[in-house]
Amino acid sequence: MGFIVVIAFLALFMMGFPVVYAILLPSIAYVLIEGLPLGLLAQRVTYALDSFPLVAVPLFIFVGNLMNLSGITDRIFRFAYTLVGRIPGGLAQVNVFGSLVFSGMSGAALADIGGLGRIEIDAMKKRGFDPAFAGAVTGASATLGPIFPPSIPLIVYGSVTSVSIVQLLVAGIMPAILCTFLLMLTVFIVATRHRHPRAERWPTAGEAIMSFLPALPAIAAPALMIAGMTYGAFTPTEAAAMTAVYVILISALLYRELTLQHLWTSAILTARSSSAILIIVAAAALFGWILAVEQIPQTFAAALLTLSSDPIMLLIIANLIFFIAGMFLDSTTATLLLVPIIAPPLVMAGVDPVQLGIVTIFNLMLGLLTPPMGLSLFLVADIAKVSIRQLLKALLPFYIPLLTTLAILTFAKDFTLWLPRMIAQ
């Protein structure tokens, strides 16, 4: 019965049912057929949202929306362009670097593509870059967002596994920096070979400072947040609220660009996209309850463990599963449905739970860039106005740095764990 529920979900999902109904319909059918109390349906979806860490989701989306509407995104973009625009690839380098800086604030996976990505692709097209290349850089660099703090996927992962959220967020820093470096190197090589346009000269110290100063308060936000958490001023969830207040304050007082209309619009957009995401979290909790009662996680975990008991082998198997899941599921759904099944046996076999968290989320983001059903792919193709085929061709070289990062995350666990360990002392 349990497996039928899973298959029904997949079928409805592929047919184009909204995810929330693809989950709810088989779950309702299960409860009716098994004769469980109907109250379970109401109770489970409500309790699923009764979670303090999940509060960070609307708060970070709010921050992202505010920044886009109040022009902070533009400032960061201009600063990044001044700094690295001269490097071969020019604007493409900005695109990568901008994602690292920007993702530090937005926290949401594809919000990076929808927000900054749109500006970047437009700017690159204007300066004569191939639209497919512009889209490929944007899509590839958007994988940085969810592994660099703050990160909604990491917070959801932490709340599902009760792994320390602070440890997870700190653990994402080194991998994100490494991946940024490898992506910029790739852009450098591709741009040099294809003679892509770049800025005419290096910035003078004055220009760098002039563009840095307006962006500084915005760039300082992640640092302030992490400092606040480290010194006990607030917990991770509270940090999300503090970031929102901080962004409102700097855009109102420093930049003087914040209007009540901005606040109002940001709040409405935030409420809607939070609801669209978290209603799935609520429905997935019901689905997860059914999987648990049907002992599907245990069956699956047992099967997984028979394949190998070597932590590295298990981690590779998990990589494959999450990579495949990422092609089909959005990261929140995949985390909620799969992590409770896969994480326990791996952790029991000796895989570090923090490392597993980073590997999992990075994989899910890679899956977004991979056919048949990568959400990033479709979004980028839509913004850049290129076909999926053209985009995939341009993306090909970028799978090398992305997969290299994944390999380092999988095999060199100290690389990921070094920073969180240091902070824990």
């Binding site: 319909l25 609801s275 959005d330």
Partner: protein
Amino acid sequence: MRLPERILTTFVVIIMAGLVLVPTAQVIMRGVFVLPFIGAEEFTRFLLICLIFCAYPLVVEHGENIVMGEFKAALPDRARRMLNLFISLCAIGATGFMGYVTATNISRNLTNATPTLGIPFWIFLGAALFGFAGAAIVHLLHLRKPPQADTNIAV
């Protein structure tokens, strides 16, 4: 914007403000005045539940449900329209049933309340009822439209 939507939007924005302000107030009360408010976390979670359910009819209204529309988009026009109608009917059924179940569950939980602040449980269930019933109504009004926009953006 029609009046019901306008009222609901205003309500949702107020909840959103609360979500930012309550944790901020807690940080200040605890850090500056050493007077933590027992129950701030519970109240914040309460606001989150209200936000998600109350905003859900707006999500449906704007066709923002997350969906994987690639298979559907590849279908011939006629087949796609029939599939969309089928999905709409299922969506009305699912949200309507969830609304009905939540409504019957409220009457059995009248005495139940949260442990710290004593927020009655029927308020939580009431938010869920509002969200599902509201979504069912919007789906019904949209019956001939797909329950989500054809372009899909997931976060």
